[in-house]
Amino acid sequence: MSLEKNIKIDTRHLNLYFFEEKILKDINLEITSNQILGIIGPAGSGKTTFLRSLNRMNELEPGSRIEGQILLDGIDIYNSELDVISLRKRVGIVFALPVALPMSIYENVVYGVRLSGIKDKARLDEIVEKSLSAAFLWDELKDRLNLSGLRLSGGQQQRLCLARVLAMEPDVILLDEPCSGLDPISTSWIEDALIELKKNYTIVLVTNNTMQAARVADKTAFFLMGELLEVGLTKQIFTAPVKQETNDYITGRFG
């Protein structure tokens, strides 16, 4: 069913708990391939928890458990036989704060790839160029690949993190507030990169900047107190939302 509708990720009746507290409540959400899904909502609405559930990162937190299903290409990612490491290769994540490793730009990009066993220099060179190009960084950094990643600006470091995820050739890219600390120019580099990347990847973007969702997302989902209150085409959500709460949130009346 999921494949027929070009659905990359399909969450069905997803409940997520930390100990006894129910954080996500009956989330049913289909994420279409090669689209950007923006997730918006006030602090504590569950949007980051939802994002982290898509590559099982919540499992790293004590007391977390889920009910329901998350299907990736029709396969339940919480299936006990599924290899979590390979899942996280397929579903990469970029965090709010860029984490450049204390090594060269080149090594930052190939870090995960080396761990997965690829050693061939020519192959690694190719991956570095491809990943940095896709993250709109190649032209800026191609002559300085041996420079420490820590010497880059915040905006460049964030794109470097994106390049590191892309190097793993994932299917899905999750982004948790990727531009929260960035200036408008760096933000627009990331946004341009995302729009370009959706041709080859499915992207889920959690953002507190509702206008960022308006600018880049094909569809937008509004979370409130652990519930998915409304999801629709971004144009519809930002011009004529159905729910009063969505209207109030995006117009800044609460949140």
Partner: protein, 224 residues
């Protein structure tokens, strides 16, 4: 920030209401002049129209500033867009009041023809539509807006009937060609006034209900 934004929206609403009130007064005056033949009422109409034009510019600037500084969305965006559109309609209504005043001056001695031709009934209907559109705008009242939308056809029918009536009169009496021509221009203006009232009501529906109902009959004709 939200407080500052609300203040800007309130200022825009106030400007729109003030402009609408000015337009309403102008239209009321020219129709009274038409009904009574008292052309002294037409004095000052043109000068007052400048005040309307000043509001036109002010509202455009207010909308531009809100869009640039606050990037409103959803109902706020629709309000600003509908304010921009309604501003345009009101400004045109102001111009039409000036045009009607000019025709009234030129047709003062044609009172019997005016009464006989149902122009006063048409004017009354159009004036009522504009008044209702402005009330709907001020009160955010969709029921009143609906009344306006339903009345447009009545004015259109008056327009057709009166036009035919005036053409017939011109055919029968060559001396009536010039005054009837003025009256044809007059009814054209009244008909446009009703159209603008309709547009204002449509803008309100867009703002409050997120529905674009413009050109509906032309774009989706009834299937029978």
């Amino acid at each position: 920030m939200q407080e500052h934004f609300n203040e800007e929206i309130e200022n825009l609403k106030t400007s729109l209401i003030k402009m609408a009130t000015l337009v309403d007064d102008q239209v009321e005056r020219v129709f009274t002049a038409l009904e009574t033949g008292d052309i002294t009422l037409c004095k000052g109409i043109k000068a007052k129209d400048l005040e309307i034009d000043i509001y036109d510019n002010l509202i455009q600037t207010q909308c531009e500033n809100i869009l640039a500084l606050f990037q409103p969305v959803a109902i706020d965006l629709r309000f600003v867009l509908s304010a921009l559109m309604t501003n345009n309609q009101l400004e045109r209504c102001g111009d039409i009041a000036v045009n009607i005043a000019q025709r009234v001056k030129k047709t003062t001695d044609m009172q019997s023809l005016i009464k006989e031709s149902q122009i006063l009934d048409m004017g009354q209907q159009a004036k009522e539509m504009l008044k209702n559109a402005i009330d709907a705008l001020i009160l955010n009242d969709l029921d009143i807006a609906q009344k306006v939308l339903e009345s447009d056809e009545i004015v259109d029918n008056f327009n057709k009937q009166i036009f035919l009536f005036l053409v017939e009169r011109m055919k029968t009496d060559i001396a009536l060609i010039e005054p009837c021509s003025h009256l044809i221009v007059l009814i054209r203006n009244i008909e446009r006034l009703a159209d603008h009232a309709t547009n204002i009501a449509e803008n309100l529906v867009f703002y409050l209900e997120a529905k674009n109902i413009k050109h509906q009959i032309k774009l989706n004709p009834p299937t029978e």
